[in-house]
């Protein structure tokens, strides 16, 4: 699982990336504002899924509670914008740092736990956080059960190269820029020393430790970095939706993120994008297929995807690509 991953990612598919970027940049001018909003949400989910990839895929620690970090990032952004009038773009790096620290602190005790036990601890985190957000002594900060309503930012320029910019389009480009930045950071982490250390710890923990890798440090770091990514995603989603409330961050969100990551493809950056598209659009499609039991359709699709694409969508595409290449010979 691990070795051919690194070797196939030695060559950066520049052409595909540039093409993808061009499409991404002209997209908002051809689709309705509502779809632009949806596209921005997909991008923010993709960042969250990269975070989960780092933790679960590369570091081998499971988390059923990443929705909590999304909540922390979102609330950080909302509180800064609402209570301290900090501009929206500044809240992103602040949310990132706060989530990095919180994630690292959570990772410290968590690193003693394995598999199911870690799953339980993270699950409990996801369940406990909404209640904490509603806590009456924190109400002055979090808005308690009412949540916080945010002002949607206006675009700084009326138009770009003669193309009209509105709030939705501007936020889309902002989100796109942040997504690119986070993907580049993620890419460098994974390919660098940190990534290799994490893979070593995941696959052969005892050998890794005996080679001098500071296992506890790296594992907690993985938690922190993963939380940072998810926190940034949360902050972005808060700005996009212009509202945060405890009800936005239930356990179901954490489970949805996990599902998105696996369906997209564990240990794959492009998988994060596919997974994000899945979790954003498939529920809507399921609703159109069956109004009576849409989630039954969703569940069936989950199971079918696991049967047909066990390595996720990214894995399936890679296999398809290899098959096509082999068949050429």
């Amino acid at each position: 699982m691990s070795s051919n991953l690194l070797s196939s990612e030695n060559s950066i598919p520049w052409i595909r990336i540039v093409l993808g970027l061009i499409v991404a940049c002209i997209l908002p001018f051809f689709i309705s504002n509502y779809h632009v909003f949806q596209a921005s949400m997909v991008l923010s989910y993709a960042i969250a899924l990269v975070g989960m990839n780092i933790l679960i895929g590369y570091s081998g620690q499971i988390s059923l509670g990443h929705g909590a970090f999304m909540a922390i990032g979102a609330y950080t952004s909302a509180i800064l914008m609402d209570k301290m009038n900090i501009p929206y773009w500044m809240t992103i790096p602040i949310a990132a740092i706060i989530c990095l620290v919180v994630g690292f602190l959570f990772g410290l005790p968590a690193l003693r736990l394995e598999g199911h036990y870690l799953a339980l601890a993270t699950f409990a985190l996801a369940v406990a956080l909404p209640q904490l957000l509603k806590f009456k002594h924190l109400e002055f900060l979090t808005g308690g059960v009412q949540g916080i309503v945010i002002m949607k930012p206006d675009p700084p320029w009326e138009s770009l190269f003669g193309l009209k910019l509105n709030s939705d389009r501007w936020l889309y480009f902002f989100t796109l820029a942040v997504t690119l930045l986070m993907f580049v950071i993620g890419w460098n982490l994974i390919r660098g020393r940190v990534g290799r250390a994490l893979i070593a710890i995941r696959d052969q923990p005892i050998a890794a430790a005996s080679m001098g890798i500071n296992t506890p440090m790296y594992k907690s770091l993985a938690f922190g970095v993963s939380a940072m990514f998810t926190g940034v995603a949360g902050a972005l989603s808060a700005i996009l939706v212009a509202f945060v409330a405890p009800d936005s961050f239930t356990v179901f969100l954490s489970i949805t993120l996990l599902v998105g990551m696996v369906i997209g493809g564990v240990t794959s950056l492009t998988g994060a994008l596919y997974g994000a598209i899945f979790i954003q659009f498939i529920p809507n499609i399921a609703d159109q297929i069956s109004k009576a039991a849409p989630w039954a359709i969703y569940g069936t699709m989950l199971i079918l995807f696991m049967y047909l694409m066990p390595t996720g969508i990214a894995g399936a595409i890679r296999l398809l690509g290899e098959k096509l290449r082999i068949s050429r010979f």
């Binding site: 509502y34 212009a242 609703d287």
Partner: protein, 403 residues
């Protein structure tokens, strides 16, 4: 020659004069046309609040039947109701789709306080009527700042006040225990209650406990509340927990004066499962007729309602209070549309909604009239206290004016 010219000109002008108002009378905003009116809605058909999905189902059935009978002023109602799973980001997404993609004329009966809070500013910025919200939070009655939003449910805050004032009047030395759901709705009721008790709140409320929607049971809370020695109990719970609470209160041998919030006062969906015998003496508030109430067995609206769900929504139980509630909201909506006539602009719709004069919604209790004015969007100005006698809710006292 001049005379003929004059006559022709007069004829011409008068013809235009007749034609102009006729053309000006039919005014449409997106979502309205000669043949249809598009109404949008989000409803939690899945997730923790899915029991309320019945409301949307009944409303869809109502409009379907209405369309078969010719619609409103000759126009069919195209009712688009989408699932938001009680998740505010999903509500935002679905509402944006309804407004921007499906171009509905207005939204009706969107459910949930957090869900509606998420779209409150959006609807008012986009100037789309945000009507008859299925929540009793007090913040929807704000015509000055949010003129496009109008609620439906009598205010939770006011209802809490109503019970508090009743306690002050009948049992001024009561020791009160309160159980509330730890969210917007629960706290709204509780705050109204405390406000109603005024200065005596701190001394009269001897014990309070909250619970989360995700909690399996509230047994522990009931045990604590009983242990405080309270003799009065204000029960702010949603239907499932209300049934649990009513049962547990009787099981632990506690016999307080028991006030139950209106949203869980359904004989069919709460009191029957809890046990009709242990529900005797419950005090609540009512404004909509209930299917399980034998008083309305021969009431024409109730008969229509029961026939409707039998034909179009057979999985819905006629005893479910959510069902008659949904019916009442649909009736109110149709009344506003009728009032608007052919002027189906969003502005006119709100104008009509702001000028409802003493309208008796057929599914509402007789005497509970709906009235609004441009400065006060609260639909129901009076509330009626009721007590459960083992079979039905019986009214006692006169309707109390609330604000």
């Amino acid at each position: 020659m001049k005379k003929r010219q004059f006559a022709l000109t007069t004829l011409f002008i008068s013809l235009i004069g007749f034609a102009l108002p006729a053309a000006a009378q039919k005014k449409y905003d997106p979502g309205a046309s000669d043949t249809e009116i598009k109404i949008g809605q989000t409803m939690p058909y899945s997730g923790p609040a899915s029991a309320y999905g019945v409301i949307g189902k009944v409303q869809a059935a109502y409009f379907k039947q209405l369309n078969e009978q010719g619609g409103v002023n000759g126009r069919k109602i195209n009712f688009l109701t989408l699932d938001d799973g009680y998740s505010p980001p999903k509500t935002v997404e679905m509402i944006r789709r309804l407004v921007e993609q499906d171009e509905v004329l207005l939204t009706m009966g969107t459910l949930g306080t957090p869900s509606n809070t998420a779209i409150h500013k959006y609807m008012n910025t986009k100037k789309v009527p945000h009507m008859f919200l299925a929540t009793g939070a007090s913040k929807w009655n704000d015509p000055k700042n949010n003129p496009w939003t109008i609620g439906f449910n009598p205010n939770y805050h006011s209802e809490g006040k109503l019970y508090a004032q009743h306690i002050l009047a009948t049992k001024p030395n009561a020791k009160i225990a309160v159980l509330f759901q730890n969210d917007d709705y629960g706290k709204d009721y509780f705050n109204g209650f405390k406000e109603g008790l005024g200065a005596k709140a701190a001394s009269m409320i001897v014990s309070q406990a909250s619970y989360e929607v995700t909690d399996p049971t509230i047994d522990s809370q009931i045990v604590s509340l009983k242990g405080s020695g309270a003799d009065t109990f204000f029960n702010i719970t949603t239907p499932k927990f209300a049934a649990q609470a009513i049962r547990k209160v009787s099981e632990v041998g506690w016999k307080p004066t028991h006030y139950l919030n209106q949203i869980s006062a359904s004989v069919g969906s709460v009191l029957k499962p809890a046990g009709l015998d242990v529900s005797v003496g419950l005090i609540s508030m009512q404004y909509i007729k209930e299917g399980a109430d034998s008083r309305w067995d021969n009431d024409p609206t109730m008969k229509d309602f029961k026939a409707l769900i039998k034909k179009y929504a057979p999985e819905v139980s006629p005893d479910d209070a959510n069902a008659t509630y949904g019916y009442a909201v649909a009736q109110m909506m149709v009344q506003v549309l009728k009032q608007a006539g052919d002027n189906l602009t969003r502005e006119n719709i709100m104008k009509q909604a702001a000028s409802i004069k003493d309208f008796q919604v057929p599914m509402a209790l007789p005497g509970v009239l709906a009235s609004t004015s441009p400065s006060d969007f609260a639909l129901f100005q009076t509330m009626q206290l009721v007590k459960f006698d083992g079979k039905n809710w019986i009214e006692f006292g006169k309707p109390v004016a609330v604000n």
